[in-house]
């Protein structure tokens, strides 16, 4: 079944579509995330805009064939600007019965479902909790079904590879990918190159996977598919000129930290403890030692932040990263960094809570924790990234604020952002504006809490500097000497100074822009973090219909931009969609005294565009 160009002549004509959402699903051992990653690469190279949503179980290898072991990867790609990973998929690829059982409920009516009939044996159906075979019992009657025994066809395709049956069957994700490449007119070569590199030390595995990929593709070219099933083309998107790549949130954070440290003129010490979904940043930086990055896998979350604080005390840029439960453990040390007034960047890739919650599922429910969650009056700066590539810019901004104001800065990302990918116009690092740190070296008039008159940041004097020996700590300091002080008036003064320092950052950040729509009016949708995509698309869709609705999206959560209160007060209604039960909502009501309303979704998945549209319509109609 080797590829033959002549066969294309007999293929049905391709239907041109503006954008497509497809979802790959299978067992957590089926290589679904890898399959999705490869599809993402070739789709980016085809010039489409895209957004992905990897959705996998917390179990590393859940028992095979179970519904809780289903791993999925969704990609939305198109000729138009893509803002989310898509609501309902247009096509579902289900490699086993459990995947079909779990994922079919999201498929659009009339959508295409590719089912591996080789995964629907009686035993598989039972494990998936299905009473009958979905292909026969009418479950799939609303969809266009491509039922193929992918398992069998894969075994045939790789029969000369010398692999045993178990290993041969593991190539079925590549067979399926080949078929999907044919359906959406993707180029196989980058994936073939990737496989050859990935399995360089096992050429037989590389050859088998390539054979499976080609066989799946050839199947599409030659087989008579069911009625109404045609292959598609998706034209390239209109991007601004420049060099692009796809980037995941975790990579963008890692690179942003390196570039931020470079712009500050500091060495980077990244200290972290493994936790889902934040470990990706540690992994990315650990590979970059040749850039002089020091990474430290600490014994626990507390040690991780404390080592970062120690590194900052000694004149490096200390950074730590975690997720909700780990952030809880770091809380006391955050207070130390606030009291010692040392620069520190803390990245929180939020996940569904409370407690351990749903470690691999996304949520944005740590805003209270970031802004308010410490003992004492303990202000710090909080930023939020809206998308994978935005992490790069937000982290650099965090480094700038941390070093300029001698303060910890929390960056809020989330599971979705950390794992998802999107195209990124790669910046030229040499064109970014440096913000070099100046350590104190002059002993004359020095004390450790000597503040810059403008920023209120204290002098950063690094051990090893002669003449500036000093002691700092978590006890209250005297404003004028930095020595321990229990003086009542001094505590008031220091508390006020720490507060004024953080609120003063508002003068050093951009005024809040209105993302879409008018600067005042009937309704404004205010969001933060990864709900950017669905809110932007929902507001965009309704504006295209002629509705007057605006969108404001916050990067600076604390302090808030100076003009935000004025902007909010210009709208009759304010809607705040959040993947929590109303945390930014509380903050905005308290700070702006506006009657904002919330839209809460805590399903572990990103917002659907349609649910935000519906909420907007409800308010516009009222």
């Amino acid at each position: 079944m080797a590829g033959n160009a002549a066969i294309d002549l007999t293929s049905p004509p391709r239907q041109e579509v503006e954008s497509v959402v497809i979802r790959f699903a299978g067992d957590s051992g089926d290589g679904i995330q890898m399959t999705g990653g490869r599809f993402t690469d070739v789709t980016a190279l085809a010039g489409n805009d895209l957004a992905t949503f990897p959705d996998f179980p917390a179990e590393i290898r859940a028992p095979a064939g179970t519904t809780y072991g289903v791993s999925a990867f969704q990609i939305n790609f198109g000729a138009r600007n893509i803002k989310t990973s898509g609501d309902a998929p247009d096509a579902l690829i289900a490699l086993n019965a459990a995947a079909l059982a779990v994922e079919i409920r999201d498929l659009k009516p009339g959508g295409v479902v590719i089912v591996n009939t080789g995964g629907l044996a009686e035993r598989n159906l039972r494990k998936a909790g299905l009473e009958g075979n979905p292909i026969e019992d009418g479950t799939l009657s609303n969809f266009r079904v491509i039922a193929i025994d992918i398992s069998k066809l894969t075994l045939e395709a790789v029969k000369n590879s010398g692999l045993n049956k178990k290993d041969a069957l593991r190539c079925k994700n590549l067979w399926t990918l080949g078929l999907v490449y044919w359906m959406y007119d993707r180029d196989r070569q980058p994936t073939i190159d990737w496989l050859n590199k990935r399995f360089a030390s096992h050429p037989e595995l590389a050859a088998a996977n390539v054979a499976a990929l080609n066989a799946g593709h050839a199947f599409g070219e030659t087989a008579e598919l069911a009625d109404g099933i045609t292959p598609y083309t998706v034209a390239p998107s209109h991007f601004a000129p420049g060099e692009y790549r796809t980037v995941h949130g975790a990579e963008a954070m890692a690179w942003g930290l390196m570039v931020g440290a470079r712009l500050a003129g500091l060495d980077l010490v990244f200290s972290s403890y493994p936790i889902t979904p934040a470990s990706g940043v540690l992994h990315a930086l650990a590979k970059l030692k040749h850039f002089g990055v020091t990474t430290f896998q600490a014994e626990d979350e507390i040690a991780a932040i404390c080592a970062a604080i120690g590194a900052s005390f000694a004149g490096s840029l200390g950074v730590t990263s975690s997720s909700g439960p780990g952030m809880a453990l770091k809380t006391e040390a955050l207070g130390l960094a606030i009291s010692a007034e040392l620069p520190l960047v803390v990245i929180n890739s939020q996940r569904a809570g409370p407690s351990t919650g749903m470690p691999t599922k996304t949520e944005q429910s740590d805003l209270y924790q970031a802004v308010f969650g410490r003992n004492g009056d303990s202000p710090l700066a909080v930023l939020a990234a809206r998308s994978p590539s935005d992490c790069f810019d937000v982290v650099i901004e965090a480094v700038r604020i941390a070093t300029k104001y001698m303060t910890p800065v929390i960056v809020l990302a989330d599971t979705y952002i950390a794992n998802a990918a999107e195209p990124w116009l790669i910046p030229n690092v040499d064109e970014l504006t440096p913000f070099p740190v100046e350590f104190r070296t002059e002993p004359e008039g020095f004390h450790p809490y000597l503040r810059d008159e403008r920023t209120l940041g204290r002098a950063w004097a690094v051990p090893g500097t002669p003449g500036l020996e000093h002691r700092i700590g978590a006890l209250e300091k005297d404003y004028d000497t930095g020595n321990i002080s229990y003086d009542p008036a001094n505590h008031q003064r220091m508390t006020d100074a720490r507060g004024a320092k953080i609120s003063g950052i508002a003068d050093d950040i951009p005024l809040q822009a209105v993302e879409a729509g008018e600067e005042s009016g009937r309704l404004c949708v205010v969001g933060w973090g990864s709900s950017y995509g669905p809110i932007a698309r929902a507001v965009g869709n309704l504006r295209e219909e002629g509705h007057l609705v605006s969108h404001i999206h916050l990067r600076h959560i604390w302090p808030l931009p100076r003009n935000l209160v004025r902007l909010l007060r210009g709208f009759d209604k304010i809607l705040v969609p959040e993947m929590n039960t109303g945390q930014l909502l509380t903050l905005l009501r308290a700070e702006a005294l506006v009657p904002a309303e919330g839209l809460s979704s805590v399903t572990g998945k990103p917002f659907r565009i349609s649910e935000i549209e519906e909420a907007i319509r409800l308010r516009l109609g009222g």
Binding site: P241, G242, E243, K289, T294, A303, S312, G315, G467, I472
Partner: protein, 342 residues
Amino acid sequence: MTVETMEPNLTPKDFASDQEVRWCPGCGDYAILKAVYKTLADIAVPKSDVVFVSGIGCASRFPYHVSSYGFHTIHGRAPSVATGIKLANPDLSVWVVTGDGDGLSIGGNHMLHVLRRNVDLQILLFNNETYGLTKGQYSPTSRVGTVSPSTPMGSVDYPVSPVAFALGSGARFAARSVDTMQRHLPVVLKRAHEHRGASFVEIFQNCIVYNDGAFDDFTEKAVVDDTQIHLEHAKPLIFGKEGEERGIRLKPGVIELEVVRLGEGGIGIKDLLVHDETNRSLAVMLAAMAPPDFPMALGVLYCDPAPGYETLVRDQIEEAKARTPNGDLNALLREGYTWTVG
């Protein structure tokens, strides 16, 4: 830490800060502070290259009283902060001051890991077998039956031995001294400073308010000859008053130590164990000795250097830089698949 930048002829009092010391009158911490000043003057590291890091507790006020750099951090976490300091600047001489509660209770996990990683730090654990700053509750080193505000009927849990803990954690240097031993303590501290890697020093410290006399059984002048053995590398394990010397030997037939009287039953110096600082098994046995059956082993129980963690981390960075020189951030951001529009 170069010879050129050394400050000549620093005296102990040059290391005193301008801050009033606020420990209770008669506290053993004063004596330790004095011994540390003397040590710092002796080792002649520039003040600006010295950092004292502490957690929470009476002992942890220590950095405020040394005129070097200092960081008084949070409860139990000094080893972690100190690790970060060494990762950022391995050339600094970093001293951790902690107590039995700070270092072995709330901070026990960090103590374990800083020792096994062998971070080049001097860790001084002031053991007073009580929680002084919170007014006298029993601590993880308190002996069974300790009556305290939180254990009015006496404590029932078994204590941890700091040096045994350190050895079990993989420490490559473990030593012991006593607050009031002003000739012995600076020598031990100097050895700790010379040792590359984590140096763990347990200092028996008298809490005059909440646990006065806790170590009298081996620190009272009248009993020291019979209850202390001062370890010296390559010297036989011998103690006791002149003419009544006793020694330590391996009990025949079992893996156990025993005290023997020299001259009795034909026992001579040749029958005694010879101290070998590089013998971990011996160190573990010596650490377990305690009055009344055995003398308390003081001095360097174990010293077997290996490269420090921060050195190995630096070495990997240098190796990576040598393998892939001239790290170019723009090139990094363009690794893998990229495509150009327009």
